[in-house]
Symmetry: C2
Subunit: 221 residues, 2 copies
DNA sequence: TCTCTAAATATTGCATAATTATTTATCCGC
DNA sequence: GCGGATAAATAATTATGCAATATTTAGAGA
């Protein structure tokens, strides 16, 4: 039997879902934007049926909201919502870190170190976000818990959609980066409790930065 | 203007989704059971279109799995999967407890106490599960984080589908219940760190019980 | 009897069509 | 002009139908 490449044709609903999700997370739509079904259908070259299935999944993921008989709109998040998602980041990521540290290999630590070095060298704030996340992810991945990791990824995607530019600039680079180095050191030394505590404070710092910048942005609310 | 009751008719996909989810979580289907679209549609008195939307949502929730061109089956979980979900319980619930304790009112503590008293009096293991969860929930609810709480609820639903009978019987009543009393005391005294630590160990205990009973159940694997 | 193949059957996937709800436009009285 | 009712247009929702894929059954040959 020839090792025939499985002719995997992804079902339409999944293509639409993945495409829309990428667009939404990339910030291509503003909050409240209405996703018209025939429009999306035409864009993906299908009928509205697969589109509706995709939209329902994105609804379950919390990216859009369905209004009965009025369609789906891209979900907006309040400051409180984002702060809560940062609490969820703390919850999930501290657990992942705790489980990951005993499993960390030298390569994992080296990879994290390398990211930090590049981070140190980088000057444009726009690049910080991605490197920041790569570093965190490198620390969590060794926990080897696929569901936990995918929840972390999904939650971070939501958060970053709203904090992308704001936080990294506001918080600056030096303080978070200092904490990153400390965090990596603690991982190296296997100091689980201290590392977890630091990570918690590290993300709480993001909460504070966000609150501070938001207070500046809309002082009335 | 008359205070007319809004004639809110829930859309079909949501009815089907909620109905199927309840059935699955109640354990009415065994893992691997195929949910035929015609069958479900007839059961709910609709066509297959809303059913497909409901199934897609349940897929996103992790309750079923879609196999292209073969339909949807109720998802089964391995021991590792359930243990991982208990890790997620620890992650989410320790955070919720930490945030809840400063907000706990006397009524919250009294409600929790009352559940424990009824728990002490109950003799049938089948009732333990629900009371156990009511107690935990009462401790988390004051955190006032709706998304965190709904994640906790969803995750617990998945776990309990597989641990319902197994764990509560295997672990017995006395040890978990002793920990419940301790936990409530720590909440009363506002000892956040100690309470969180105890909760973590409490759920880890469930992991151990589960591993122990599973080792007894299928010794080969 | 067993196995392989092919027809029959069942089921999914998706497009089209019909229905229903909502929004927008138009008209009329004031 | 300004409401307010009515009609047209628009969009969402759901039903139906058909093609594609998978599964089962039946039959032929060893």
């Amino acid at each position: 039997m020839a090792p025939k490449q499985a002719p995997v044709r992804k079902p339409a609903p999944e293509l639409v879902r993945d495409g829309l999700r990428a667009s939404i997370l990339a910030g291509e739509f503003e909050a409240g934007y209405q996703l018209r079904q025939d429009e999306v259908a035409e864009q993906f070259g299908t009928s509205r049926i697969p589109v509706r299935e995709a939209l329902r999944q994105l609804e379950s993921e919390g990216l859009i909201v369905f209004h009965p008989n009025k369609g789906a709109v891209v979900k907006g998040l309040s400051l409180e919502d984002v702060l809560e998602m940062l609490d969820i980041r703390i919850a999930l990521e501290t657990r992942a870190l705790k489980l990951a540290i005993p499993n960390m290999a030298v390569e994992d630590l080296d990879a994290a170190q390398e990211i930090l070095d590049r981070y140190d060298a980088a000057s444009e704030p726009d690049a910080w976000g991605e490197m920041n996340w790569n570093f965190h992810w490198t620390l969590y991945a060794p926990c080897n818990k696929s569901k936990l990791l995918s929840m972390i990824e999904a939650n971070y995607g939501h958060v970053s959609r709203f904090t992308r530019r704001q936080v990294s600039r506001a918080a600056g680079k030096s303080r978070p980066q200092k904490e990153h180095h400390e965090l990596l050191d603690l991982c190296r030394q296997g100091k689980i409790e201290k590392a977890v505590d630091l990570l918690e404070r590290h993300i709480e710092q993001t909460q504070k930065s966000l609150q501070a910048t938001s207070r500046l942005t809309d002082p009335a609310r």
